[in-house]
Symmetry: C3
Subunit: 116 residues, 3 copies
Amino acid sequence: MTVTRYQPGPRMSQAVRHGNTLYLAGQVAADEFATIEVQTQQVLDKIDALLAAAGTDKSKALSVQVLLGNITDFAAMNSVYDQWIDKSNPPARAAFEARLASPNLRVEIIVVAAVE
Amino acid sequence: MTVTRYQPGPRMSQAVRHGNTLYLAGQVAADEFATIEVQTQQVLDKIDALLAAAGTDKSKALSVQVLLGNITDFAAMNSVYDQWIDKSNPPARAAFEARLASPNLRVEIIVVAAVE
Amino acid sequence: MTVTRYQPGPRMSQAVRHGNTLYLAGQVAADEFATIEVQTQQVLDKIDALLAAAGTDKSKALSVQVLLGNITDFAAMNSVYDQWIDKSNPPARAAFEARLASPNLRVEIIVVAAVE
């Protein structure tokens, strides 16, 4: 089984494919001062782009972890997440509070997806 | 490789199978006001039921993440977890503190398991 | 697909192989009173040893989660992590704050790696 890395950098790749499984790095918002709703949308946009780069899409998402800087953002995050999700093909999910690398970041999402 | 979803809902599936790997959603207790010991048992019961629905069982658990609302519940959670585990086939594990979606929830467990 | 466990104990295995995928337990420092830099190095040394025991190495790391007891250790952890990483083969990564099983532990790292 081959390993393919997407957007490799000095610290991490943004995604790594192994066989038919794709592991995404934790994605955070481009604008860390935006609202939780905007940050969530920016994160999901990045995820869609990475999935597309690897030849897959959100309908193949297997497992999602949603990390919130403050769990009180749970409902607001979901208001965007629930619009994004492929309702015919929902992944497994867990969501919990975790302080993130920058104190302004409100949400980080980790995805494992199938390819093909 | 086919993808099969178990108990799909509008936000997530409770489990997703990809090839021979099964990803469970984070499982929480049915009774969020119960003690940590009871919550842990309820979570493990849900996990057993999901594994069975997918044709596998705890002897095939590969990786477990235990999230505790308060890390001081570590020993009490383990008192139940250690009874549950298949001691001939222990999975890899990590346990850490993370505030959960509801403030009363004391434990959430995420499992990746083999099928076949 | 066979399942192989490395260093199985009464609560967990330190690593579990399923097919060509290896799941490591969360690794923590041998000396929990050491500095964040020393703890990070000890964790990475343990990871290298587990990967070697399973016939693989850090160039095959697919996905890494770095849990920090205090997110203010982010830069100091990275100063060691960035030296360790195989810069030709960086894994996907997420890093976040999570209180760990012992209050003195400053870092725990979870790895998923390819074998072969």
